[in-house]
């Protein structure tokens, strides 16, 4: 087997829609895995990038707490090229909508005041992640390639991966550049 390009992905504060869009490349996935090894993804058996590192790391979702920050840093450390996938990773997206409300108010609303909650309590286990301002991943790690969209069109995802395989830096334009 020729040396395959290794690809890993993970998701942060996201809805997994970008990964669904990745799967939307449909039959082209068969062609892709002829050149690429998908090592670890949230949708496969292995979840974390191998210690030896991968060629291409893909992150979906925004950084919004200490846990997602750690995941982002880990992926950056273990990838040669890092792709920010989707509006949340690129721009911050929907998770940033809670930034203008203070953290206490958010936690109170979620765990105590929500309509279906009875005898609510804000969890305070020391193992839990600490809430932070939601922000795009480039506020935490260096990003090499931005792939915006909500979700990015499957064609754009396939285009970016194909260009990288061909040794070119992808240039998003036309139908491949679709933010919303």
């Amino acid at each position: 087997m020729a040396t395959q390009v290794t690809v890993a992905s993970d998701w942060l504060a996201g809805c997994a829609g970008c990964h669904m869009s990745f799967l939307d490349i449909d039959e082209r996935l068969v062609e892709l895995i002829g050149h690429v090894t998908l090592t670890s993804m949230p949708i496969t058996d292995l979840k974390h990038p191998a210690e030896g590192g991968v060629d291409v790391g893909i992150l979906e979702g925004a950084v919004n707490n200490s846990a997602t920050e750690r995941v982002a840093r880990l992926m950056r450390q273990r990838s040669r090229i890092l792709i920010a996938l989707g509006d949340c990773a690129v721009f911050g997206g929907i998770p940033t909508m809670r930034n203008c409300a203070n953290k206490e108010a958010c936690l109170k609303r979620a765990y105590i005041e929500s309509e279906s909650t009875v005898d609510g309590r804000i969890p305070d286990d020391p193992e839990l992640a600490v809430m932070q301002e939601a922000r795009p991943i480039n506020q935490v790690v260096d990003v090499d390639i931005y792939l915006p969209g909500c979700p990015p069109p499957a064609d754009a995802i396939f285009y970016v991966l194909s260009e990288l395989l061909a040794g070119r830096k992808p240039k998003l334009a036309g139908k491949n550049l679709d933010w919303h």
């Binding site: 920010a84 509006d87 690129v90 721009f91 911050g92 997206g93 929907i94 940033t96 909508m97 930034n99 203008c100 301002e133 939601a134 922000r135 795009p136 480039n138 506020q139 990003v143 931005y146 792939l147 915006p148 909500c150 240039k171 998003l172 334009a173 036309g174 139908k175 550049l177 679709d178 933010w179 919303h180």
Partner: protein
């Protein structure tokens, strides 16, 4: 120095020509070269706020804004040079970082082909796929949803000030302004109050010019981008001004109404014509209904019309009342039906005033804005012909003088230099005929003041209502030829109705035919035992007390012509397809006349309405 008629310059290597006074942006646009800009708008004075249009001009020390830079002979301009493009990308990145531009849930957001957001469109064009400078995510930008019809989301505002300029120079309402400075700058209303509590009149001009999703229409949000909808130029039937509109429709639904920039009103509309028309309406009448045991029951056209023909034949006299909110063709059919088929004179308009008296040369809407003296005699245009009111205020902004002549307070009072009182002389009419209706008189001193003001003016315009005494009308008629007149008519096609001999007056008959179109009225002007037929698009208190209800078209389904206050004949263009069971009222009248043994034909009606 001889004035040049054309200026020669080069843009992106192309030799183009400009007229004296044109900016580089305008000259390039005329030559088919579009220079990106956000705060520029063809109907507003250039602002130079967004800095997107910066271009390289040889021999200039720095990049220059094409929207304000005057074109000059021999100029060499590059609009897409490396320097210009870099500057443009920087401007875009700075705009995005300034506020929380969340495209994902904005109604205007779309792909490069479908987006309605001019900011997003430029972002796509210049390949922006990430933000160089992070916005302050924690900063909450206000969202003002206190107005009924549209919302202001400051997170999407780029401070282009198109809205402020539109409010000031197009609507002349002077509500919008700018509050604070620097990164805290916000568009505000009056003294920074909620829009819903301000002097805003919801004319929606700001909404029409906003390049982003900052100002968003409520009713049409998310219902289709510009590329999904159909735009049809038509005429608003909200009042007698007959403003040009662009109706936005999709799948036989009216989504939104916008002002037609190419019509006499130049894009300006009022809340009635822009927003009220898309508000939810009462229940639609789809089939004829007949009263049985005190309840209205749906029936076939055949049964309903047969019953009506029978009862009309039996009745000693049939009276007819029509709303003025109908095209000439419908009103002609109505008048014809009564004169020829029913042989009845008891036919009139349901509401309105006497038809306007001819005084002289008619003013156009443009004439109002160019006037240097305006007199408003017995009328309240800011309330009843709102767009005319806006145009008057525009003239006042250009230092026109205003006389308001009225017996009661009007919305224009505070803008008038001179207020002359009208006297109600209804009891002491100058002829026995006038004692029957209201008459308003202006004393000789007032008429002299008016004459003197007209004398010194170069472009005087007089707007006048009905019900003035013949003395006043004669005095107005005697004014110099330079005066332009505009009657203040209420009732969309009252002018057309007047030419058909239809005026508002009481009518009497054993039976009543009430043609309502899509108007609604609170009650019937009838005695309880009359046989009443109501032709109406909507159910209302009027239809509930009728013996027979016949469906009718709404304004957007009508076809025909109206005559507006300028005296111009304007086309009524169908925008929507009516439900199959609903017929135009003239069609109904033809069917009815056939059942009454008459030979009233379509051609007859057509000829009469063409003559109007």
């Amino acid at each position: 120095m001889v004035a040049q008629t054309t200026i020669n310059l080069t843009v992106n290597g192309h030799a183009i020509q400009a007229r004296p006074g044109q900016t580089v942006l305008e000259a390039a646009a005329d030559a088919g070269i579009a220079i990106p800009a956000l705060c520029h708008h063809p109907h507003l004075k250039p602002e130079g706020a967004c800095r997107l249009c910066l271009v390289e001009i040889e021999k200039q020390r720095t990049l220059q804004p094409a929207c304000t830079f005057p074109a000059a002979e021999g100029m060499v301009v590059q609009t897409e040079s490396e320097k210009a493009v870099a500057s443009r990308k920087l401007a875009l990145q700075l705009l995005f970082s300034e506020r929380s531009h969340y495209c994902m849930h904005c109604p205007q957001s779309g792909t490069a082909d479908s987006t309605d957001c001019e900011l997003q469109k430029l972002g796509y064009r210049y390949g922006i796929n990430s933000w160089s400078y992070p916005p302050d995510y924690a900063k909450p930008w206000p969202l003002d949803a206190s107005r009924k019809h549209f919302v202001m989301d400051h997170a999407r505002c780029i401070l282009c000030r198109r809205c402020v300029r539109a409010c000031n120079t197009i609507a002349a309402n002077h509500t919008l302004g700018v509050h604070q400075r620097g990164s805290r700058t916000l568009i505000c209303a009056d003294d920074n109050v909620r829009f819903g509590d301000s002097t805003c009149v919801s004319c929606g001009t700001c909404l029409q010019v906003c390049p982003t999703g900052a100002l968003t229409d409520r009713r049409s949000a998310y219902r289709g981008h510009d590329c999904d909808v159909t735009r049809t130029k038509a005429v608003c039937l909200g009042c007698a001004v007959g403003c040009g509109i662009e109706a936005v429709t999709r799948d036989n639904q009216l989504l939104r109404v916008e002002g037609d920039w190419t019509a006499g009103n130049e894009g300006l509309l009022c809340a009635t014509g822009r927003f009220e028309v898309v508000e939810p309406k009462p229940q639609r009448v789809l089939w004829p209904m007949v009263k049985q045991d005190g309840r209205l029951v749906e029936t076939s056209w055949d049964k309903a019309l047969t019953l009506v023909a029978e009862r009309f034949r039996e009745s000693h006299r049939v009276a007819g009342l029509a709303t003025p909110r109908l095209p000439n063709e419908s009103l002609a059919a109505f008048a014809c039906f009564f004169n020829e088929v029913l042989m009845s004179n008891e036919v009139a308009l349901l509401y309105g005033e006497d038809p306007p008296v001819e005084l002289g040369m008619s003013a156009s809407l443009r004439d109002i804005t160019m006037a240097d003296f305006i007199a408003v005699i017995s009328g309240d245009p800011l309330r009843q012909q709102k767009v005319v009111g806006h145009l008057i205020k525009r003239a006042l902004d250009n230092e026109a003088r205003l006389f308001v002549v009225n017996d009661r307070a009007t919305e224009l009072d505070r803008y008038a230099q001179v207020r002359l009182p009208l006297q109600d002389v209804s009891q002491h009419g100058e002829s026995p005929f006038e004692r029957l209706r209201h008459a308003y008189h202006l004393r000789g001193t007032g008429i002299s003041q008016l004459k003197a003001a007209v004398e010194t003016a170069q472009r005087p315009v007089i707007l006048y209502g009905s019900g003035l005494t013949t003395t006043v009308y004669s005095a107005l008629r005697a004014l110099p030829d330079k005066v332009r007149f505009l009657p203040l008519i209420s009732g969309t096609n009252a002018a057309g109705a007047a030419r058909l001999g239809l005026r508002p007056r009481p009518v009497h008959g054993a039976a009543l035919y009430l043609m309502l179109g899509d108007d609604t009225t609170d009650g019937l002007p009838v005695t309880p035992r009359q046989f009443t037929v109501v032709q109406s698009a909507y159910r209302s208190p009027a239809t509930e007390t009728a013996d027979v209800v016949l469906p009718d078209l709404i304004w957007a389904e009508q076809k025909g012509h109206i005559i507006n206050i300028e005296g111009r004949t304007l086309p009524v263009t169908p925008l929507l397809q009516a439900p199959k069971s609903v017929h135009a009222c003239w069609d109904t009248l033809l069917q009815l006349s056939m059942r009454m043994g008459s030979s009233l034909s379509y051609d007859q009606i057509h000829d009469i309405s063409m003559a109007v």
